[in-house]
């Protein structure tokens, strides 16, 4: 299998001023993963864990501080040198909030036509036909009922389809979907997720699916990457990660899902802490019920725990030998 996207030790820090003093925020810390062609990879983590940051780095909206991002074997910085338009065409994005991602004053037709005109140089009849085809692809049928509508005339789910159609329009190879369903009603989510699955299988698009919802990740994705405070803490086969999480943080995520079926009340094992210091040690140690001496001393590396399942936790390390010092 060939990989289409590879991240190698990508880091990004922001600085923010609070009460006058500057504070560094590690939005991405030496993040590495590889995305296979025509796969769907889910990037999971709580709010502020750096999911959107990684999406921005991949789509070229922001620059990484260090590390490499390779798309089709060519580094992003190479793409940037004169081939940014082509890169953009190949790497598209679906935004979280469909209400915000569409200009309230532009019709569906105009919105979808832009990438077609810009990247595929379509005009007149062929443009119109392609727009129709795309609307069919995203199941906005009958097409003529939707093509000339303004965003306010559509429901959230329909809007998200328009957004998706626009992303697909340029025939991209990779689509980064940043929480595409979190703003939608549960009842509508399934259809959008199914649409993504369909685009992957029928159009051969590769997806990076960003979410904080472990269930949908498990349903949709082939692989899952779990992110905590900018660090990849666990990654592997979707089913394995979601059904049998190894990292205490992933376990926390799973437990958090409301579960009326659960027979007995499971007390929440972990406290919430709003801030941890960023000096050495495991990023999760302050919230971790199993924190050990070693967790304060070094940063655990991602290691193979099972086949296709890596975790960065000392609980699953054989020895401190694999500890990396930052």
């Amino acid at each position: 299998m060939d990989s289409i996207l590879r991240l190698g030790k990508v880091s990004k820090t922001y600085s923010r001023k609070t009460n006058g003093h500057e504070q560094k925020i590690y939005a991405a810390r030496r993040v590495s993963f590889e995305l296979q062609t025509q796969h769907i990879m889910a990037l999971v983590g709580e709010s502020g864990s750096g999911k959107s940051t990684i999406a921005k780095l991949i789509t070229g909206v922001e620059h990484a501080d260090s590390g490499v991002i390779e798309f089709e074997g060519k580094t992003l910085s190479a793409w940037r040198r004169g081939h940014l338009a082509e890169y953009r065409r190949n790497v598209q994005m679906v935004f979280q909030d469909p209400y915000a991602a569409l200009n309230p004053l532009n019709t569906v037709r105009y919105t979808i036509s832009r990438p077609l005109v810009n990247y595929r140089k379509l005009h007149g009849e062929s443009l119109h036909n392609e727009i129709q085809r795309l609307l069919e692809v995203v199941h906005l049928t009958p097409v003529n009922e939707f093509i000339d509508k303004l965003p306010f005339e559509l429901s959230g789910g329909q809007l998200q389809r328009v957004v998706t159609a626009r992303a697909v329009a340029s025939n991209p190879k990779l689509i980064v979907a940043d929480e595409p369903v979190s703003m939608l009603d549960v009842s509508i989510r399934a259809e959008i997720l199914r649409l993504i699955e369909e685009l992957r299988s029928k159009q051969g698009v590769t997806f990076l699916y960003i979410t904080h919802d472990l269930i949908s990740a498990r349903m949709l994705a082939d692989e899952i990457v779990v992110l905590y405070r900018g660090t990849v803490v666990e990654t592997g086969n979707a089913r394995a990660v979601a059904k049998n999480p190894l990292h205490p943080y992933t376990q926390l995520l799973l437990q958090s899902i409301p579960n009326p079926w659960a027979t007995e009340e499971q007390p929440m094992a972990l406290g919430i802490l709003d801030r941890t210091s960023d000096d050495g040690g495991c990023v999760f140690r302050a919230r971790c019920p199993y924190a050990m001496e070693v967790c304060h001393q070094g940063v655990p590396e991602l290691t193979n725990a099972e086949s296709d399942h890596l975790v960065a936790c000392f609980l699953h390390h054989d020895a401190t030998t694999q500890m990396a010092v930052q």
Binding site: E46, S155, S187, A190, S216, L252, L253, I257, M268
Partner: protein
């Protein structure tokens, strides 16, 4: 006598009928969950009960009996005395519900001073107590809302609603804007608080999973109407209305082997037009011809009820069978 008895309540925003002839009762100590899709009128119901509708929202008809007195016809000045001491609310987005220019302490003290004035030190104690209750360091009392995280603000909103130990609390999606972990934490927090304070509550949310976990009974709302009310466990096990059934399918058991989320195709109706028949009919997988023409009144019997031709049929069949 039920604590809260909503009778034939209809609320409009201009020509939008957001709540349509809704009746329900709430017993003392009970938590009634209200679920439904976005725009189904959940918040409107909550605001109407507390008479906090913003213009152009207005109660068209109906009564809201709180301990036997009708709030709809009560004068605002009399109602004011009941507010917060007897009924309090937690708003949909706790983030915006706190006055940005007042400290957290001020916002607690305002309420205390308005209703049960006590000395400074007593007040201070009380604020600290309340914050601790929702696991927030009392030091934060002197902070401003923008200095706190979303989860903290939401918990403070909850603490604020409890400060005068009201009989009834309206929770309007107290967890929606938060991420799963925080959401979870707040739900647990609420459960503990409930056992402490024994308040009754109207718990509004679109997250059926959460509602089922926390509420004693659940009311399912669709297009401004209740379509089904049942005790939580029963609703989970034997949903009667096709909408409830479909909704439940959207919440798979995270531990099951095969996960398949089933959505509800189609979109909710436009509330500015009143159509005959069942509002859910166009999206219903079990639709019958009479569903399109005959509307069905929702009747609550012994704390449960369903508004579906199909449900009626099965009932009949059972009786005959």
């Amino acid at each position: 006598m039920p604590l809260l008895d909503i009778q034939h309540l209809t609320v409009t925003y201009g020509n939008v009928q957001a709540v349509r002839d809704v009746s329900v009762t709430l017993e003392t100590g009970e938590i009634l969950g209200v679920v439904g899709e976005s725009g189904s009128g959940k918040s409107t119901l909550g605001y109407a009960v507390t008479k906090l509708l913003r213009p152009p929202g207005a109660i068209q008809s109906g009564r809201v009996l709180f301990e036997g007195t009708d709030l709809v016809s009560t004068l605002e000045s009399d109602l004011r005395k009941k507010r917060w001491t007897e009924i309090s609310v937690v708003m949909q987005s706790g983030m915006n519900a706190l006055n940005p220019v007042a400290t957290i302490r001020r916002q607690f003290e305002d309420a205390i001073i308005a209703h049960q004035p006590t000395g400074q030190s007593r007040m201070k104690e009380r604020v600290a107590e309340m914050l601790k209750m929702v696991n927030i360091d009392p030091r934060y009392a002197d902070n401003y809302p923008h200095e706190l995280s979303g989860g903290m603000k939401q918990r403070i909103s909850i603490a604020l609603a409890l400060v005068l130990e009201p009989k009834l609390i309206i929770f309007d999606e107290p967890t929606t804007a938060l991420d799963v972990v925080v959401q979870r934490f707040i739900v647990q927090n609420l459960k503990t608080l409930r056992s402490q304070y024994h308040f009754s509550a109207l718990f509004i949310s679109h997250d059926l999973g959460t509602v089922l976990e926390i509420a004693d009974r659940v009311a399912v709302m669709y297009a401004g109407k209740f379509v089904e009310i049942q005790p939580s466990g029963q609703l989970l096990r034997a949903p009667k209305h096709p909408y409830t059934q479909a909704l439940l399918q959207c919440f798979p058991d995270p531990r099951s082997d095969q996960i398949n989320i089933v959505g509800i195709p189609g979109t909710p109706p436009d509330l500015s037009v009143v159509q005959p028949g069942c509002a859910f009919a166009p999206r219903c997988s079990q639709v019958m011809t009479r569903c399109l023409t005959e509307s069905l009144a929702f009747v609550e019997v012994a704390g449960a009820g369903v508004a579906c031709h199909r449900a009626g049929l099965t009932e009949e069949v059972k009786q005959h069978g």
